[in-house]
């Protein structure tokens, strides 16, 4: 049996991003996988010393274009905690609405790409068609389809009018109706099951030891969702973390699809319970001290460490993104897999390389 090394990426039809894996294969079976990163490394954390703490919001939003709102929310929360600012309730609810809409569009994007990875083109097209509705809501309420840029230190930049809140309620009901048949296809289709069930199994213990986060962790039976920490308005919203127990690609897939419905439900609750009031409080002075803050991103737990020294520039901003945590589990599940399954396995952790390398 001869060993050969096959490069997977950086420019690969399945991946929209330059993920590079050096796969050592014996015949068709992968025996070792080594990641090669750095194709998207920009040095974003280093910009913290040159931008003041307001400007840094726009930099952290561009860590990742898919979940930009959640990055900004996490950073703003950290700075607000340092400055002792109490964000108005309405602003907290608006942040939840935007961030959950981001989760919906991120999961739909991923589910579409995942369907595309095993050649299910029509499902990919259908899911992305539904996703466009979410993008339209983003554009109508925030002015940009992808990077909504609504978070500022102390609150949010703009309001959503009552009419638009009603319209969003109507829209998400329709999105739910359109998604239900897709859920049946994604969970019951023979081909999809053949490609995902029992592939890339991560046991409950191994998953935790390797530091997995988000749907990868919950797909292996850990009911851990950072939203349970009740940041923003999650203390008044009801939800249960979505858990599946098999730890294979099928489970992770199902977690994400069920989370899409859950996020739509959270948006509905938030719109029904949103109080009226101020949008933002004005920050005074400069932040001082250090803090670690976590939020739940579509891909998992997002960790920010912010250190400020009373000056206008933060001293250090450290960003640990969920994909960074999910790469070791990916390396653990690849050995033993067939070469043809590698794209499916690599996508099953929902890799976001621009997050990983910053």
């Amino acid at each position: 049996m001869t060993r050969s090394i096959i490069p997977f990426g950086p420019q690969h039809p399945v991946l929209p991003e330059p993920l590079h894996l050096k796969l050592t294969v014996e015949d068709e079976t992968v025996v070792e996988a080594i990641p090669a990163l750095g194709y998207v490394h920009r040095g974003l954390e280093g910009l913290a010393q040159r931008r003041d703490y307001h400007q840094m919001i726009y930099v952290v939003e561009r860590v990742c274009g898919i979940c930009s709102c959640i990055h900004a929310m996490c950073y703003c929360n950290a700075i607000e905690k340092l400055m002792g600012l109490e964000v108005p309730r309405r602003a907290k609810y608006l942040r939840v609405i935007w961030s959950e809409l981001h989760r919906v569009h991120s999961h739909l994007l991923w589910l579409g790409l995942f369907a595309d990875a095993f050649g299910f083109e029509s499902l990919f097209m259908n899911l992305w068609k539904i996703r466009e509705r979410v993008m339209d809501i983003n554009e109508a309420t925030a002015g940009n389809r992808v990077i909504v840029s609504t978070n500022i230190i102390g609150g949010v930049r703009r309001d959503i009018s009552e009419d638009w809140l009603k319209q969003i309620l109507k829209d998400i009901t329709e999105i739910e109706q359109q998604l239900k048949p897709m859920f049946d296809v994604m969970t019951n289709d023979y081909t999809i099951k053949k490609r995902t069930v029992g592939k890339g199994v991560l046991s409950k213990e191994l998953c935790h030891q390797l530091g997995a986060a988000g749907p990868t962790l919950r797909g292996s039976g850990w009911a851990q969702d950072v939203r349970q920490l009740k940041y923003e308005a999650f203390d008044e919203l009801d939800f249960e973390p979505v858990v599946e127990y098999d730890g294979d690609c099928y489970s992770r897939n199902k977690v994400r699809f069920r989370e899409t419905f859950q996020s739509l439900e959270i948006v509905r609750q938030a719109i029904n319970r949103i109080p009226s009031g101020e949008l933002a409080v004005k920050p005074k002075g400069n932040p001082d001290g250090e803090i670690a803050f976590r939020v739940e991103q579509p891909r998992g737990e997002l960790f920010y460490y912010v250190k400020c020294n009373g000056g206008k520039n933060p001293e250090r901003v450290r960003i640990r993104t969920p994909t960074f945590a999910n790469i070791p589990p990916l390396l653990a599940m690849l050995p033993g897999a067939q070469l043809a399954d590698v794209p499916v396995l690599a996508l099953s952790i929902d890799p976001c390389i621009s997050c990983t390398e910053r």
Binding site: Q11, V40, R42, R62, I147
Partner: protein, 167 residues
Amino acid sequence: MKFDLQKWINEGRLKSPWVVHFNCGSCNGCDIEILDCLTPVHDVERFGIINVGNPKQADVLLVSGTVNHRNKTALKNIYDQMQHPKAVIAIGSCGLSGGIFYDAYNVVGGVDKVIPVDVYVPGCPPKPEQIIDAVLVALGKLKASLEKSDEAPGQETAPAAGEQPAA
């Protein structure tokens, strides 16, 4: 009437441009908008635009994001593998100049620092309509260069594949 093979190929090139997409240090914002163009709402295939994975079969290169020290060689490789005539479209503020990351330590700058760019699409990220429009603008440029090479005296056909254009 004599059948002109080259004319036939050129027509096909302009009617159905194949694009290849390379993400070079982008935040994904532009990439998902490029993918959005393929989906039913925007549907670029009505213009005959097809996204392919292989640069050797592509006419148009879409680049999103800033160039950094590692991916500049990958970008150059992909550009060199493409056959003539080819067009390059830089997408998003980062692809134009480095954008918000212009002074980060690992950023070289815009795409035009490494390869020649034909069409620039501003925006962070640009809307799918802008990207589709940019591909059509690039086609106009391709058409002009094809016509120029057809009319050039002393040249029987369009430049052979792989030939470098006069600097």
